[in-house]
């Protein structure tokens, strides 16, 4: 690896909650330097190797999760970075934001049974196009979800496109790795837990890899994704 540290930008909207968790988790990787970037800024001030839009309740999830993020200056910088091919990951509320600012197709609706769910889920890696998934060895990861609006929805045409372009990155699965209705916690269409954009550099996912990453965590599956993008 070349000498200068990899800079990973972590975006902090008002109401973002998981920025420090992400900084701690990604910061563990060798040569990585994480920096918090306020959503009130309109640039990253310098080159970044990758961008994390962390979970939380930006602007309280008011109106619709992620909806108000559109008004923040940082979105312009996000569009530019996405175009330039920078690896971007949106986790949970970050996924909702990336959908609302149209960097990713689809939208996240309220969970099928209307309630918040905090629970570990199985995730089957369906596509490794995202730099965050390219180096993930196992086909099944165990990572928790924590959301009320995690039901992925898109039109039938969009779904067909996602399939055709290999944009479905992660699906919910059971302990044996089987994708099924029973293993789908929130009613997502196609059991989708994560998708990428057409180019593959922008990934959105509802589960939280940063919560299975620290030395004292019982599970460490999240580290696969962190190491993948930092490799």
């Amino acid at each position: 690896m070349s000498d200068p540290a990899l800079r990973i930008a972590i975006i902090d909207f008002h109401g973002t909650l998981c920025e420090r968790d992400c900084a701690a988790a990604f910061g563990q990787a060798a040569h990585v330097e994480t920096m918090l970037v306020s959503s009130e800024k309109d640039s990253f001030s310098g080159p970044v190797h990758a961008i994390v839009v962390p979970g939380g309740f930006s602007y309280g999830d008011y109106i619709r999760p992620g909806a108000m993020a559109r008004t923040a200056p940082i979105t312009r910088a996000l569009y530019a970075a996405a175009d330039a091919g920078t690896p971007i990951i949106g986790i949970c509320n970050g996924f909702q934001i990336l959908c609302e600012i149209r960097l990713l197709p689809g939208v996240l609706l309220k969970n099928r049974d209307g309630r918040f769910i905090c629970r570990e889920t199985g995730l089957r890696v369906q596509s490794r196009r995202s730099p965050f998934l390219a180096g993930v060895k196992p086909d099944v990861l165990r990572v928790p979800i924590a959301h009320k609006y995690g039901q992925y929805y898109c039109s039938a045409e969009t779904l067909a496109e996602l399939q055709a372009n290999d944009q479905i990155a992660l699906c919910y699965c059971d302990d044996e790795g089987q994708i099924s209705d029973a293993a789908n916690p929130n009613g997502s269409v196609g059991h989708i837990a994560g998708v990428t954009n057409k180019a593959g550099n922008v990934l959105g996912m509802m589960p939280h890899p940063e919560r299975r990453a620290m030395p004292w965590h019982a599970g460490k599956d999240g580290n696969w994704m962190i190491e993948s993008v930092c490799a």
Partner: protein
């Protein structure tokens, strides 16, 4: 407004006010006094008893009187924690009532400069009917939405359903935060000339007179006082938390206080008075939301998410620079004065000018000198006839003890165990809470213990939350002793010698002598516990008047213990090993909650139920020995206190596996129902895997630790002399969600 004042100020209070002022009070003064002298703010009925509690200790950095208690855990770390009730609002608007409860307790914690790390809650309903279920569902939703949105994990709690909570649910919320011992910021350190900073949400008419509301019994009339309802704004809650912590880290405020009960009145007067000074408040400067709002309304509004700070004159610009970064309102609304008066100005007039001594300490309090310790220890026995619970004479349970009660069979008891909501999986509750955010949760809901890990100091903080209304109903003094001992055992099992105690005392009407005997009995028991074990009371909350036309609650003290745990990330977690079970103590079926629930089903009484008699010195000795054992054999064995649901619940949760049997020995220390479902002093269950050899310290041998049985290869059975139980069947039923118990039909029938 005037109607409320007449309801609230009694003759004695009116006389005190007139004498103190030496003139007729202004409307604003009456408004302020009505709030400050309410039970909620003035502790008029409880002060007599609360002042007897031990509050000093080498670990105490802040005690009662501050927004929250603070305990020094070790050199690098202190913990702020507090419990608070939101029972009355939750009975009327369960979602908002519970949500604003969480908001309020969070503010108490970050106001002191500590970063909130954990929320917990203690919830008690009567879910027999539609209304009770509706309340339960909405309370959990409200707690979830507020806590989740602010990013503080909700890591544990307890719930129960008993008939004495009909119409009067209990919603107690706990928050804990961490800070460096030198970072503590108090509400008593303002200086003359400091400017008074208001920030957060605007002031509206919502929640007017909430403090008064909490001091009244719930009647149809109070239910109609809709202006008392507050709406929570968790996004603003998160913003003011961040802004507050940032201000404190920058060293800007000289003192800080959140606006909780009685809003601006309480926060401004207390911050000045606690600092030994006075204050002038300019109400015109307060950011308001409602056009035409009056001075009295501004003074009493309980609009949520508002903070108060005092800032030295040379720090104003720095404060503004920080606050400008957040989408919130702020204003300079006054100044700290030398003269110890509270002066309020509105529209170029002085609308109030009263000595703070009068406003805060002048509150006439009830004196209960006749309730001596002997009277309290004798207390009031209740068990066989609950029909007039707490003396209301209302037919709540309607039961008369059956004259010749058959002792229950094990299968009848297990039937109760399998069917009631008490032992159904709490997943339905806690999966609605984000319990993992912030990466600190070492033991969360569904785990054996509630443990939060601090990576910086590599230390673990243990939290214990406990209440047992069947015990405290039967006898407040003895029941409270038993609850405290049970909470102590939970803390020991979590590896922590408790360093501080916080409490929420939920009682029926304070206007009845019987309530005050119960209340006094509870505080006496608490005092004895704290003195015996050297644990200070660092704060708490009192909620009276939990009764309505329909019924009155059982006295329900809820306790929170905090300690520095010896358990860490490497603690023992059961993963299928074979090994030995050991039992300490002698459980008694009639003291356990399964028996109480069975009995309530039989005839609506608790006759035959008992309260364990505890000896704190003995609990202390055993507890210390167990902590030593944890230290001597780190990560080598598992330990649980034997509490609700008895040994059976622990076996079911841990060892019910398709490839394991639990085989109990022939020489059980008591009858099987006692062993499996009973409780008693100093009772713990330990599991030692075969790979580990332990040497029992003398203290435990003296306490009578004995082998109970083995966990061994098998197919999911519990085998005991002449008994075979299918654990997997019970496990499957216990794993079933609470949901069907909680949700049922709307009352849509004509």
């Amino acid at each position: 407004m005037n109607i409320l004042i007449d309801q609230i100020l009694n003759q004695r209070q009116k006389d005190t006010l007139l004498a103190g002022l030496g003139r007729d009070p202004t409307p604003a003064e009456v408004a302020m006094v009505s709030a400050m002298w309410s039970e909620h703010c003035g502790y008029t009925h409880s002060r007599h008893f609360l002042k007897t509690l031990p509050r000093e200790g080498e670990h105490v950095l802040a005690g009662p009187g501050e927004n929250a208690g603070i305990i020094r855990l070790h050199d690098q770390l202190a913990v702020a924690f507090k419990i608070e009730s939101h029972n009355h609002p939750s009975a009327v608007v369960p979602y908002q009532g519970a949500a604003t409860g969480v908001g309020g307790i969070l503010r108490d914690i970050f106001t002191m400069g500590s970063e909130p790390i954990a929320l917990m809650n203690s919830l008690h309903f009567d879910i027999r009917d539609h209304r009770g279920k509706w309340i339960a569902e909405h309370v959990v939703d409200g707690i979830a939405d507020y806590g989740n949105c602010t990013g503080i994990p909700t890591v544990g709690g307890e719930y129960s359903s008993y008939p004495w909570y009909v119409d009067n649910p209990l919603v107690n919320v706990v928050c804990a935060g961490l800070l460096k011992p030198e970072q503590v910021l108090k509400a008593s350190t303002a200086q003359v000339g400091d400017r008074v900073l208001y920030f957060g949400n605007k002031t509206g008419r919502d929640g007017i007179a909430g403090a008064i509301f909490a001091s009244l019994n719930l009647t149809e009339a109070t239910r109609e006082q809709k202006s008392a309802v507050q709406v929570g704004d968790p996004f603003m809650g998160k913003l003011i938390m961040q802004a507050t912590l940032e201000l404190i880290r920058a060293g800007v405020p000289s003192a800080m206080q959140d606006m909780g009960a009685a809003g601006i009145t309480c926060s401004t007067s207390e911050i000045a008075h606690n600092s030994g000074l006075g204050i002038t408040v300019e109400l015109d400067a307060v950011p308001v939301r409602a056009p035409g709002i009056t001075a009295e309304e501004i003074l009493l509004s309980e609009s949520q998410e508002r903070m108060l700070a005092t800032v030295p004159p040379d720090r104003l610009a720095q404060a503004e620079e920080i606050l400008n970064r957040y989408p919130l309102d702020y204003a300079w609304i006054g100044v700290i004065e030398e003269t110890p008066d509270m002066v309020v100005r509105f529209q170029n007039e002085t609308v109030a000018s009263a000595p703070l001594d009068l406003l805060i300490d002048g509150c006439p309090v009830e004196d209960y000198a006749d309730l001596t310790d002997d009277v309290l220890r004798a207390g009031k026995e209740r068990a066989s006839d609950l029909s007039g619970i707490a003396g209301t004479g209302r037919p709540l349970l309607g039961g008369k003890p059956s004259t010749n009660p058959e002792p229950p069979t094990l299968s009848a008891l297990l039937e109760v165990y399998a069917e009631t909501s008490h032992y159904a999986s709490a997943r339905h509750i806690y999966e609605q809470f984000d319990y993992e955010i912030n990466q600190r949760t070492l033991g969360g809901p569904g785990d054996d213990h509630t443990l939060m890990y601090d990576a910086a100091s590599e230390r673990t903080v243990a939290f214990t939350l406990h209440s047992r209304s069947p015990w405290t109903l039967q006898h407040a003094y003895r029941g409270t002793r038993a609850v405290l001992a049970a909470a102590w055992r939970r803390s020991i099992a979590a590896g922590a010698y408790p360093l501080g105690l916080s409490n929420c005392l939920n009682y029926p009407s304070a206007d009845r002598r019987e309530t005050m005997i119960d209340f006094g009995g509870t505080t006496l028991a608490m005092k004895e516990f704290c003195e015996a074990l050297g644990i200070p009371v660092t704060g708490g909350n009192v909620s009276f008047y939990n009764e309505s036309e329909v019924g009155a609650i059982a006295p329900t003290p809820v306790f929170v213990l905090v300690g520095d745990s010896v358990l860490g990330p490497d603690r023992y977690r059961y993963a299928g090993a074979e090994g030995q079970l050991y039992l300490l103590g002698t459980p008694d079926l009639t003291a356990g909650d399964v028996y109480a629930l069975w009995r309530l089903r039989q005839d609506g009484t608790l006759s035959g139920a008992t309260v364990p008699t505890v000896d704190f010195a003995q609990e202390h000795q055993v507890g210390q020995a167990l902590l030593d054992l944890y230290r001597a054999y780190p990560g080598a064995f598992a330990m649980r206190d034997v509490g609700k649901g008895g040994v059976f619940k622990r076996i079911l949760e841990q060892f019910a596996r398709a490839d394991r049997d639990v085989v109990l020995n022939d020489d059980l220390p008591a009858a099987l129902p006692d062993v499996l479902l009973g409780e008693g002093p100093c009772t713990y269950l330990l599991f030692v895997p075969d790979a580990t050899t332990l040497e029992w310290p003398a203290a435990l041998q003296a306490a009578g630790i004995r082998p109970l049985g083995r966990v061994t290869a098998g197919d999911g059975k519990l085998l005991a002399p002449a008994v075979e139980l299918d654990l997997l069947k019970y496990r499957a039923r216990a794993d079933k969600s609470l949901e069907p118990h909680w949700i049922d039909q709307l009352e849509l029938a004509p």
